[in-house]
Symmetry: none
Subunit: 188 residues, 4 copies
DNA sequence: TATGAATGAGAATTCATTCAT
DNA sequence: TATGAATGAATTCTCATTCAT
């Protein structure tokens, strides 16, 4: 009579924890032993859920991407006014900037580990999704959405490297104002 | 009368090579043996020039920072017209975007390795230098310079992660146009 | 349900083997690889049982000390006549002189490695135990016991360095005679 | 025109310093680099005076032995009364106990490094010299001299390992008294 | 004679992975 | 399914030794 466990639930618990550890220490600097300890399991158990260490990184990337997409869609859902959406998005970014820091670091680790097309591909989808989503959501051109995403990426990165100088909150406010003005102009 | 060598020259040759290797594989994924092979020396020699592996990262960061500052100052030197400077800076960025990719990756490795204040401090100076330099060079407010730097950081990062979507060249052109227009307006 | 092993038993098997290897080659001249080979394990396993190389030395010292105390006490146990005890002790020394050679060498390695108070402390207890034990066991003054122990130490050392000249057996016999005479005198 | 240096003098200076360093840290734990630094020379220079690291140990042993013999002979020279000699020898031991500690440690390092007959042979001469010298100097039997030397060795060793318990000075006094009494008896 | 830069073998230690229980 | 003991390759770093100057 085997023990009944929620396989996927445990897997995701482990991934969630890894997202944070990998981010702060770097994938390469975290040992399997450390992951086991931090997740309250054992090395043997980890190898039940994941093929090998790299597979954790791989699954983590897929998991986080999916989670992000879903969350974005759920957030926008049912909000029709562009102004409201803009409000929503800016407040969302303020609250989740740390998570996007993790994401960027994860992407870099992923790229360096896979060092090939797979990584690029994965992140490509990510970007494209957000560019199109923002373009549609905010009713702006794809070109403008690209610049917006680029800027947001810069925001995340600088807030990660030089939190003192680049206050993300502040800069998001400025951005919000800029976009709001642009919306108004568009309406006129 | 020991063997006479240009200690600093050798040191910098090694650092220069490490800048590129660390960037593509990540500091933690490059072994001392590999560095020795890539730089055409031996592990023993490396430890003659550097206290330990971390010291390579440390010295590399200092070296690159200094080199960057000097180059920027030399570039601007003797160019008085703001338009010309804008031209200069945009073309500079186009030519050196890869190097700034390396730099960002280095900064991340540095932060993760030192995992503390030291890293932040080093990068803080870097940012501050460029924000002030751009503010003065292009005759724009510090606030605008911050946004500009943030955007440039985003540019570097996206061109690194999704080179297909975010064409740095293209985006720099757009940015250039934006800044040029702003300058003109300022003149009027 | 991990693999079930008698952790302490394995640990002691390793220590027992190290006692002999360290003694003949010196702690510093024995590599972890060599210990692994000699004990029939692997380097990884050694680090499963010991924190690091120095920890082997440390645990070895503790282990040997404890083993020695217990053996001495068990030997004396139930023997009431002083003459019999003297007989017992001298024959014990004859049989275990090699082990005391190991012990002295271990103590020296320990002192040099720890190079501090810890080492002194450990050996201090050892000495004190034997001085008091001999004093009580043989019914002699502490001062005389000290001299006896000093002499025995000299015996072990010389038999180690110049086995040809200083025949331990012979010298123990002389010592035995001396002590026996002293006992008799005390009785009178 | 080559620099004129007193080759032997420098060599002995180095050996003297090594005697002390080896003693406290152990031959194996002292690197050539460390010897160079401690003696104010360079690794290259050391290899001018000594064939290799082991040769330092070898020459050191020979040097110390010779120095010891000469000193002993010079000390005894011209002192005819046995009582005076005894006085001389005990005070000599009190003053030089540390040096004999060094010597024992050196002998152990030597034995472990050579791990063969050479070492034994070297120390054999040492012992024999002292046994005979003491026998003649103090007018005691060789057997007694052997016991005396054994005891002295124990004294040196215990004062090294447990300086707190075994006060060498004190024990030498006791020994001195014992021997003095024996002398008197012999005279009667 | 004197220096210390250069070397690579070998040291201690860590790590992903396997496997008996 | 879960555990952690076992493994040995690979890592960082040290060291005796050589050699150009």
């Amino acid at each position: 009579m085997p023990k009944i466990v929620d396989h996927d639930h445990i897997r995701e618990k482990i991934l969630e924890r890894c997202f944070s550890i990998f981010s702060s220490k770097g994938y390469s600097n975290v040992s399997i032993r450390e992951i086991a300890k931090e997740t309250g399991t054992s090395t043997g158990t980890l190898y039940h859920y994941f093929k090998n260490k790299e597979d954790i990184l791989e699954q983590l990337f897929v998991y986080i991407r999916k989670k992000n997409f879903n969350r974005y869609l759920k957030m926008i859902e049912g909000v029709d006014s562009v102004e409201e959406r803009l409000e929503l998005i800016t407040s969302f970014w303020k609250n989740h900037i740390e998570e996007y820091q993790h994401l960027i670091l994860l992407a870099i680790d992923y790229k360096r580990t896979k060092s090939g097309e797979d990584a690029i591909h994965g992140f490509h989808d990510f970007m494209e999704f957000y560019i199109n989503a923002l373009s549609e959501t905010l009713n702006i051109s794809v070109q403008t959405a690209k610049m917006l995403v680029t800027y947001l990426m810069g925001l995340v990165l600088t807030s990660l490297l030089v939190p003192g100088i680049m206050k993300a909150d502040e800069q998001i406010n400025v951005l919000h104002e800029l976009l709001r003005l642009q919306q108004e102009e568009g309406i006129k």
